[in-house]
């Protein structure tokens, strides 16, 4: 008190107080830099996150509603289909639209030519909103709490961006697989790192050194970087030596340390063919341990067949609602950085990552012309059941024909329930 000059205005004297000036030199005087385009703080912890380009995948990430910067996601696919490729393309397209650095490893430029274009359908988003409202109406109030998680799921995070009040920047765009992305002038085209040469003792060293150069330039400019590794270890692109545990795991370990070193700009997404390297091998398990999140896409042939049928028959059931396979979250992104906690708050567990594990809520994915969605999946309910109606239940064990029929009856049943309310 007595040390303070009486004549000085309190405010300024406060700031010239040695206690506060010492640390304030750098952090306080510089205004907080606005987050880069396409980056927003996590809903859960406030760490910066970026979108995966798939709204429902964002919703699956332990309540972060986005992929935290500095993390590495492994998408496994247990079939010869390429649904994981679609997820990766959305991720790449989102990066390009947002003006991020996109680095594609191992595959040629042809891969990048198939990036989906921005959807110009306004209904896409309105659709979702409307659906959410309808659901609200249908569900009796006492079930509303039950449906809550579901509703938050089907009204994806971009909603807050799409609210016309905020035309500035969308967090996650909607894409149309039938279109091709035209790279906006403000963005850079993706960079391609060629696959390792076929005869190489340490196949990943060239990729790593290329990544290092990219990242060091990117970090000096502080530009958000997305690294994509489609079909890691696919024999089409990678020499046999690359699947040697020492080579592969060293690469992944170094990649992991890179995500930590450049934790302010870097996210990595890898797709990995499980049909070649099943989850029962130690190699895959080590890979999963070293990644921050592991999601398996498990296409189911009968689902696929049913999907094709619905598409061709164009019946009342829209192809949008037929799942093509299940989604399993083997390792969820940690809810709080630095703890093992994987989203456990009421928001965090929204049908997503955590409970999506083995035996928990089943998740299914559906890829349509317009978008890829991941939703909760449940088996059909028995007679006299409560308002589980919105799940569009399917019975995986039934044959294709019966399956479609099952859907129809399921719908009728649903209406009956509605009438009772």
């Amino acid at each position: 008190m007595s040390f303070r000059k009486r004549s000085v205005v309190l405010n300024t004297s406060d700031s010239s107080n040695p206690a506060s000036t010492a640390p304030s030199g750098a952090p306080q005087s510089t205004p907080p830099t606005p987050p880069a385009k396409g980056v927003r703080p996590s809903f859960l912890t406030g760490v910066p996150t970026t979108s995966t380009g798939t709204a429902s995948l964002d919703a699956l990430l332990s309540g972060h509603e986005g992929l935290p910067l500095g993390s590495m996601v492994l998408i496994e696919e247990s079939s010869t289909t390429d649904f994981a490729g679609a997820l990766l393309r959305y991720y790449a397209a989102e990066g390009i639209v947002q003006g991020h650095n996109v680095v594609v490893v191992g595959v040629g430029e042809a891969w990048g030519r198939e990036l989906p274009g921005l959807s110009d359908r306004k209904e896409d988003n309105e659709d979702i909103k409307k659906k959410g409202k309808e659901e609200r109406m249908k569900i009796a109030w006492r079930y509303e709490a039950l449906g809550n998680r579901r509703t938050t799921d089907s009204t994806p995070p971009p909603q807050m961006g799409t609210d016309t009040s905020e035309p500035v920047s969308l967090f996650c765009h909607t894409y149309d697989l039938t279109k091709r992305l035209t790279i906006p002038p403000s963005s850079k085209p993706p960079t391609y790192i060629p696959p390792p040469p076929p005869t190489s003792a340490s196949p990943f060293s060239s990729i790593l050194s290329a990544l290092h150069t990219h990242l060091s330039t990117a970090s000096s400019k502080n530009s958000i970087t997305r690294v994509l590794i489609p079909n890691l270890l696919s024999p089409l692109f990678y020499p046999p030596a690359s699947s040697h545990p020492t080579n592969l795991l060293q690469f992944i370990h170094t990649l992991r340390s890179l995500t930590r070193q450049y934790s302010q700009i870097l996210t990595v997404m890898i797709s990995f063919p499980l049909s070649l390297y099943p989850r029962t091998t130690g190699l895959t398990r080590h890979l999963e341990h070293l990644s921050d999140a592991t999601i398996e896409l498990h296409p189911i042939p009968t689902f696929l067949a049913r999907f094709e049928m619905t598409k061709s028959s164009s019946t009342s059931t829209s192809a949008d609602d037929i799942p093509q396979g299940l989604v399993k979250v083997w390792k969820a992104i940690e809810g709080k950085r630095g703890t093992g906690i994987v989203g456990s708050s009421s928001k965090g567990d929204g049908s997503g990552g955590v409970v999506g594990m083995e035996g928990g809520d089943d998740l299914a994915f559906m890829l349509t012309r317009r978008r890829m969605r991941i939703e909760r999946f449940s088996l059909p309910v028995d007679e006299g059941d409560d308002g589980n109606d919105e799940h569009k239940a399917h019975n995986p064990s039934s044959t294709v024909g019966e399956g479609v029929g099952g859907v129809e009856t399921g719908k009728k049943k649903m209406h009956k329930v509605d009438l009772e309310f």
């Binding site: 390792p196 060239s206 000096s220």
Partner: protein
Amino acid sequence: MSKLPTPAEVLGPSFHLLPQESQLLLITSVLGTSPYWLTYTLLHNFLANGENVAFVSFTNEFAYFREGGKRHGLDLQSHLKKGTLTFIDGFSKLFLPATPAQPVSSAPAPSPSPSRVGAMPPRGGPIPPRGGPIAPRAAPNAAIPTTVAAAAATNNNTPDPIKYITLGPSPSPSAFKQLDHIIKSALQGVSTTSANKPKLVVEGLEVLLAAAGVDVGTVEDLIYDLREISSTTTILLPSDSVLIHTSPTSTPLELSHANLVISLGHTADAILSLRLLDTGVAKDISGVLRVTRGAGNLAGTTAGVVEEKEMLYYESDAGVRIFARGSGGH
């Protein structure tokens, strides 16, 4: 800040038995159950009792544990500054080429890019001969005290309290000697400052086996050596059934991992294993914690016998809660 269970809650009445002088505690976990809350419990217990702790990690950097500890009310940073905690980072630079005594500035770029890039392109091709670029093998020893981590070092005058382990891009047997040496010198540095030997916590040894290609024998030797100079040793390893259950078709990768875990299980005094619920995922249960007496804990040889038990635990924002099966989470 969330609540951490006390060792008494984790271990029950036999908590005072563990971990005692010269004991080995093995913590195993599977994919989907994070063992770090147990680590924080232990660290908290050690540090609160004024013990010296040496923490070696091969899968995470210090910042990760600093943030995690902070959430549990454990200020690892200040312990690191005080010197009661020694952090040995085998993650950040493990497979980067050894950088000679050139202090790394705060810019994150120079540390990896010149090293890795520098090792390869000047040689004219993307294919470095195996074991080639690790010529300056003797360097890291001298380099370690001078490398300054951007994140950790708040004061430029003091050397980085974090020690780094570097094996180079293609590890050779000589590199492991180095590793042995680094950990040992760090531990001895701690023990000279105080009468007590440090408590040692090692996490991620599987990386050495799987990614660096070290054979099991070398890792076991390393562990035995380290146990000699530390007071108690805690080792964290994954124990997924895929990695543990071997079959005639198992690859060397799986065999060596199983080998290590099982042999450690047989020498350990107690094994704390975390696994997922066998019946599937539940909303209010994160997993199962099992306390098993290891072969090292024979009746009569130590102060008592570890009581075996199995409990459920639930990790939430509010902390970790441990409860008996059937008693519910509430």
